[in-house]
Structure formats: structure tokens, C-alpha cells
């Protein structure tokens, strides 16, 4: 682990919407193959942090560096480049409703990476098979279940060969019985060594996957450490308290 090089470095991110300050100086570094899990109460800034990292939301100050190169946030071209290399999975899937599962995956390959129709479809079929949807390629989002939609979204993002994957509560919008299929896909990705930052309320994902837990509250990273350090028996951390409350609500499901 010590030899792994740093992929992503985020420094001093600030973001506010009007008078409401969401991020108050957040910094983190992500090494190759590392999995960080972001937890904390709603409104704490988890989603905004993730959206700032691939600049879907432009931070007011702070820097984002990929492989040591600081991204110039004013330059649209550099922004598009950054977003290509940092994939994003959304809570609400955000599939393109007018396109089939296959077309959802091929469209960015064709428009952004200029793949031919044939090679884009070949790649898309491969990605959809990887998430267990090889037989659903011609269905439209409205014909898929929530879990299937999220898996298409994952295939769509992976087809772009991202170096880092950001997941914004990937299972929160799913019916309980559909959570498992998405978690299985995420765990398979982790096993392959994908570098990830994931916001989640799913305790099984925290203890099972995370090498590093970030507890975010009021726009700052309030605590961070390995799951053992923060969640080990007898620890009196805020992270621990927060996870206990989650378990009490039955949201944990581990």
C-alpha cells in the first residue's frame, strides 16, 4: 500500500450556495486502488464534495489535481478531460430516458471518445455483461428496475475507463431487495482494484470495503481513519455514534 502513488489530490475546497456554506475547506488525497467511504448526516456536504471533485459544481476556491497536475477550473477543455477520467455514479441513476441500456453506454463513447458505432457497441455489451445485464441491452430505462438502472449507470461510467470512481449514495434510492445486486457489482469493482470514493449510509459497505472512513459534518471532514480506528469496539468517536444511530434505524442491513 505504501508504494501506491497518489492519483487524486483535493485541497481546501470551499463551496457555498448563496448564504449557505456547504464546504468549508475540504482536503483529501486518494492513492491508486484506495477506497474511501464518506459518511455523515444529510446536508453535511457529501454530495457537494463529490460533485466538486469532478467539477459538476465549480468550487469557489481550492484545487483539484490528478496525477499531480492541477486542473485549471476556468478551462472548459480541462474540465471535460477531468470528468472523463473521474467517473460519477448518482443516487438517482440519471440514465438517459430516451436511449436503450446499450445506447446509454455507447453515447459518450461515440460523442466523447469518437468510437465507431461497432466498437462502441462491442465495448458497451461487454460492460453490460460485466454488471449482469447482457440480456437487457435493448430495454429502455422505464422498463428496468431500480437496481438494473443503477447497474446500467455503472456500466456507462466504467466504459469511459475512469481512473477514479465517485459514488454518491449508489444504493439509497433502491428498494431494500434490490440493494444486494448493486452492492455485489461495487464489491467486484473493489476486488479489481478500482479507486473509489463512495458516500453511503450502507454500513455493510463501510466495514467491508473501506480502507479509510471520512466522517463529514457541517462542511468539514470531522474525523477520518481506518474503519477499525473509528468503528472498533469501545471507540467513542462521532463516527461510531452516527453509525450506531443508523443501525438503530435499521438502515444498516449488514
Amino acid at each position: 500500500m505504501t508504494a501506491a502513488k497518489t492519483i487524486l489530490e483535493v485541497e481546501g475546497l470551499h463551496k457555498s450556495f448563496g448564504d449557505n456554506t456547504i464546504l468549508k475547506g475540504v482536503s483529501l488525497t486518494l492513492k491508486e486502488g484506495e477506497i474511501k467511504v464518506l459518511i455523515g448526516p444529510s446536508g453535511g456536504g457529501k454530495s457537494t464534495l463529490l460533485q466538486c471533485i469532478n467539477c459538476l459544481v465549480t468550487p469557489e476556491s481550492g484545487t483539484i489535481s490528478l496525477h499531480g497536475n492541477t486542473v485549471n477550473l476556468e478551462n472548459k477543455k480541462e474540465l471535460y478531460q477531468l470528468r472523463q477520467r473521474v467517473g460519477m455514479i448518482f443516487q438517482e441513476f440519471n440514465l438517459f430516458d430516451h436511449l436503450t441500456a446499450l445506447e446509454n453506454v455507447t453515447i459518450a463513447l461515440r460523442k466523447v471518445k469518437n468510437f465507431s458505432k461497432v466498437s462502441a457497441e462491442k465495448r458497451a455489451r461487454l460492460e453490460l455483461e460485466q454488471v449482469g445485464l447482457g440480456d437487457k441491452t435493448d430495454l429502455y430505462p422505464a422498463q428496468l428496475s431500480g437496481g438494473q438502472k443503477q447497474r446500467v449507470a455503472i456500466a456507462r461510467t466504467l466504459a469511459m475507463d475512469p481512473e477514479v470512481l465517485l459514488l454518491d449514495e449508489p444504493t439509497s434510492a433502491l428498494d431494500p431487495e434490490l440493494v444486494g445486486e448493486v452492492i455485489a457489482v461495487i464489491k467486484a469493482l473493489a476486488a479489481k482494484g478500482m479507486t473509489m470514493i463512495m458516500a453511503t449510509h450502507q454500513i455493510s459497505l463501510i466495514s467491508g470495503l473501506a480502507q479509510n472512513v471520512l466522517f463529514m459534518e457541517n462542511g468539514v471532514i470531522a474525523e477520518q481513519g481506518s474503519p477499525k480506528e473509528l468503528l472498533g469496539a469501545g471507540k467513542q468517536t462521532r463516527t461510531q455514534g452516527f453509525c450506531d444511530r443508523l443501525s438503530d434505524l435499521g438502515e444498516g442491513g449488514s
Binding site: 472548459k76 470528468r83 472523463q84 448518482f90 438517459f96 430495454l139 422505464a142
Partner: protein, 227 residues
């Protein structure tokens, strides 16, 4: 009574030719309005502030001034002032196109804004540029949603096209008036003209309904939501 029928039968081919000219004016105006309307809608939503003001001013002018005034302004005013020579057909198609563009822009604006923002975010997160996301993700869906309102606009513009007779475009209304002034069979002739307009409206609206059905996204019900 016999004279009425005779006039209608004699003049029917002449009136039907007018119907084709009316249809030509309306199709040109609607397509021109479609292209311009989409551009205006995108400019108003995504453009920089000065452009937004300018486009909104356009909407106010073309929605606030009667078509007839615009038509006179263009045909007798602007063309003469510039020393240009344009046919009555082209002039009417342009003025109606400019007018319907203002209304269509609002149709498309509403449709684009009603799409979930997440799809635009997702497109951006995959590295698509704003223009690519608008072109490949937002517009195909917004245009589908706009068809019902667009068919309304079609039926309005079709009837507005009757104003073309005042500058002498040889469409239904002009031809009807011409024959009526010579035969004095006003009643049967204007009833015939009304029926032709009605049939044109009906045909166009049916066609658009068919289009709406054929491009409907599978899995969505008639109401545009998940079944």
C-alpha cells in the same frame, strides 16, 4: 341554389390549389420557427446575460405586436426601405416563421426545463461538452415532449396564414375572396374555405399525433410517466 353549387364546383380546383399554397406557407413557417425557436430557447436558458435580454426582447416584440402589423411592416415597410424584392409567399412564410419562433421558443424552454437536471449532470460527468449534452440528451427528449404544444401552434399559424391575402399571396383566402367578389356567392364560398381550413387543421393535427405515438419512448404510458 343551383348557382351556388355551380360556383363551388367550378372554383373548387382553383381553391384546392390555394390550399397547397397555404400548406406550403405553413410548413415553411413552422420549420423556420422550429429551428429558430430551438436556438432561442437554448440561448435563453444557457446563454450569457446580454444574449438572454436580447432574446427576451425578441419574444416580447413578436408576441406583443399583431401579425398583420408585422406583415405590413415587413412587406411594405422593410422590403421597400431596403429596396428588396421578395414574393408575397416568401414574405408571409418569413413573418409567420419569426412570429411562431417566439411562441415555439417558450414551448421548448418549458420542455427543456422540465427535464430532470440529473441527466445533464450525468452527461457532463461522462465528459460530454455542454453542447453535446444539449444536442444528444436534452433536445431529443424536449422535442418529443413539445409535440402536443407544437400541434397547437400549427393550428394557430395555419389560420393566421389567412392574413396573407392582404399582400396578395394566392392562398385559400385570397382566392375565395377573388371569386366571391366576381360571383357574389359569398355564403357558399366562405363555407367552402372554412371547410378547407378545417380539413388542413385536422390532417396536420392527426399527422402530429401519429408522430407523437411513433417516437414515444418505450415503457412510458400515454401520460409520459412510468406505467
Amino acid at each position: 341554389m343551383y348557382a351556388s353549387f355551380a360556383v363551388i364546383i367550378d372554383s373548387f380546383p382553383y381553391l384546392i390549389q390555394g390550399a397547397f399554397i397555404t400548406a406550403g406557407i405553413v410548413v415553411c413557417a413552422m420549420l423556420f420557427g422550429l429551428v429558430l425557436g430551438v436556438c432561442i430557447a437554448i440561448g435563453i436558458i444557457y446563454g450569457p446575460r446580454p444574449l438572454r435580454y436580447l432574446l427576451n426582447l425578441y419574444l416580447w416584440i413578436f408576441r406583443g405586436v399583431p401579425v398583420l402589423v408585422l406583415l405590413f411592416l415587413f412587406y411594405f415597410g422593410l422590403l421597400t426601405y431596403l429596396g428588396l424584392n421578395l414574393s408575397a409567399f416568401a414574405s408571409v412564410a418569413i413573418v409567420l416563421g419569426l412570429t411562431t419562433a417566439a411562441y415555439q421558443a417558450n414551448i421548448f424552454k418549458g420542455a427543456i426545463l422540465s427535464l430532470p437536471r440529473g441527466q445533464f449532470l450525468a452527461a457532463s460527468s461522462l465528459g460530454m461538452s455542454d453542447i453535446q449534452a444539449i444536442k444528444s440528451i436534452l433536445l431529443p427528449q424536449a422535442l418529443r415532449m413539445s409535440i402536443p404544444a407544437w400541434s397547437n401552434e400549427y393550428s394557430i399559424i395555419l389560420k393566421d396564414s389567412a392574413l396573407a391575402f392582404v399582400i396578395g399571396a394566392p392562398e385559400i383566402m385570397a382566392r375565395t375572396q377573388f371569386i366571391a367578389s366576381r360571383t357574389y356567392q359569398h355564403l357558399p364560398l366562405y363555407i367552402t374555405a372554412g371547410i378547407i381550413y378545417f380539413v388542413l387543421t385536422w390532417l396536420g393535427v392527426r399527422l402530429l399525433l401519429q408522430l407523437e405515438k411513433s417516437v414515444r419512448i418505450p415503457g412510458y404510458s400515454d401520460h409520459g410517466t412510468n406505467p
